[in-house]
Amino acid sequence: MKYARIVAIAFLVAVSLGCLLADYIAPASYARQFREEPNAAPSRQHLLGTDDLGRDRFSRVLYGTRVSLLLAPAAALLSSLLAALIGGIAGFAGGWLERLVMAGTDLFLSLPWLFLLITVRALLPLNVSPLVSVAITFALLGCLGWAGAARVICADARSLAHSDFVLLARASGSDGFRLLWRHLLPNLKPVLYAQFWISVPVFILTEANLGILGLGVAEPLPSWGSLLREMESFSTVSGQPWQFVPLILFIVVVSSFHVVLSKEELPA
């Protein structure tokens, strides 16, 4: 397991470095259309061939990975912070506030996510650049993805609020925000980390799902979702195995996150 973790971390580091250095590694702009070579097979010029519009697939994979790998953790961070704030306060305060917040959280969890995302996405301003659209997409994911984590954090905060060291802190005159900030939150860190790492692959998958529906990152910016859309009709890609590279990369990256996460989930 230790060996698998090292391999997973090494792989994630390699992929992260590759996509961060995309500007130097990519043989062409992700948006440039080589219109004389649509759907080209791999060649020296195009390592993974070209897509339907003649865009270099290797470059698109690099940039798409960058988009998904940078923004999914950012969205996970946002949702984890929201979860910490909402779940932490509810669990710490207890009583009617906890019941109210948790009822709101349950209501939020019962919302059909996909339809909610589609609706919210449709209400956004149209004239935004692809970069802004990608930021909006992931910000939406972050804003909508806190509820599950908030429940877990609330439960943890509730038990911490009644623990001996908190009682001792109270007895020493610590209360309110200081108690929450100095004593409770540091002890919630392990569960927050776990929630963060769980959220990363979930958001990558959600963006991919939105991308497959054509509602993810705007063209011409690539993301894993838009790259995976190339495979929506199996019969047309089955003769071009290089088109599976984004899918394989996606699976391996998400699996690597889970392998790394299995260690993070261990009790601190």
């Binding site: 589609i118 054509g214 011409p220 199996f234």
Partner: protein, 540 residues
Amino acid sequence: MKKLSYCLSFVVLVSSAMLAQAGSELRFCLRAEPKTFNPLLAADDASETIRYLTGGVLLRVNRLTQDLEPELATDWKITNGGKTITFELRDGLQFSDGTPFSAEDVAYTVQQLMDPALHSPTGDSFRSGEGKVETRVARKNRITITFPAPIAGLDRLFDQVAVMSAKSSQKEMAVLGPYYVAENKAGSYIVLKRNPYYWRKDPVGHALPYIESVHLDIQQNRDAEMLRLTRGQIDFINSIDAEYFDKLAAQDPAMAHDAGVSLDSEQMWFNQVVSAPLPVYKKMWFTSTNFRRAVSEAINREDMARIVFHGHARPAAGPVSPANKFWFNAKLAPHPFDQKSALQRLTQDGFHLQGGVLRDHEGHAVEFSVITNSGNKYRERMATMMQQDLSGIGIKLNVVTLDFPSLIERITRTFDYEACLLGLVNDDLDPNAQMNVWLSSSDTHQWNPSEKTPATAWEAEVDRLMRAQASNPNPKKRKEYYDRVQEIAWEQEPFIYLVNKNALSAVSASVHNVHPVALRPQVYWNVDELSLSSEFARNR
């Protein structure tokens, strides 16, 4: 005497059944379940398929020649300035349940069709003015129908009207077409059986149709449909995408049929609604003919047809496809890809290039968004190609894909959009079918709906020409008017027509006498003349 006629009809039935391919079954897929079997209410593809296969019509547009041919009517005449049509009907015909056919049935069908309570989409084409439609049955096989106002191209509209029985207890299930609905397993399949009373015969006198039954599977997944075709489980796919077509052509060229350019078009338009929530300077861009023409000239339609549609499309010139033999204005050619000319036009309007960015006379960088429906990869690719093309003249285009209801909301209610890319599926050859698009007062006058008075002089001219063609019974004169409408559309480009897609279909070699055409239904338009190879029919 009655006994003798029963005996005769029995003999006819037995012999025709023998000549038909015993046990033969034609199979293909519907992409959704038909919403109705009532031919007057058919509006979706699946219901229209059932109507075409089962419905008997007075007149039929031959999908190959595009000429109007007699079917249940032997002759017809339009009088009273296009308000009245008189049909002479065939004698001795019967519905699929044996009920005799007469002029009473046509009168009943027309009354049903025009009944406002029924809300028949087919009937809408006949609503020419206020007032009642009168039907007069002069004798058993002669009927005169009078509409409250003239309808141009009246006779061709009857291609869509399947005659229903006034007397049959089976109501709309009693039909006069080549097949009748024998079995319907909701969500799974529909079986049509050969109509034993179908009136048509082949040139040597054999009763049609040749194929005993038609099995329609409900299959939404196009991959599965393709697999079923290549495995021989279905006989054809009426309409396939360019990607599937190329794959099939590589596997088995004989199966892939490209019938040439179809009636369908893909187009883009700018939002010119006065009350739209857009900045004033953008409204000025969008209402400028030079701006629209420049954008049009900066788009490489040839590349679009070649790359997005794999060469199975043609750059579009205007609202009428070249597939529409009579109405297409052959003088018009698609706008050529010419970025130099585009920039010249923009300069005339005060635009200028600054550091590779196009700016208007107030210094605003030219940037706009185009919305299209998500999930349609062809449109998304077209928009992405436009993005690169327009960057060549310094315009930044943002592509936004929206779910269909949100898109419709924006283009029909809130008008909160800048440009839209959509397609037009056209079934009707006659320009009257496009009245709702071209009349400035119409709510489907997409670039600026429901205008109280025409916003521009050219829109007023289009209104006049469209009304003139709609009220003139002379086809030559109508063509003149509509040619001018096409010219104005070409000059002003309220719609920037991009491509006309080809009619692509896939047909198994087991089906004989197939002649795929550009008009719907591309493959089975002559279903009563199709046959299956004898070996295949036996195996089934």
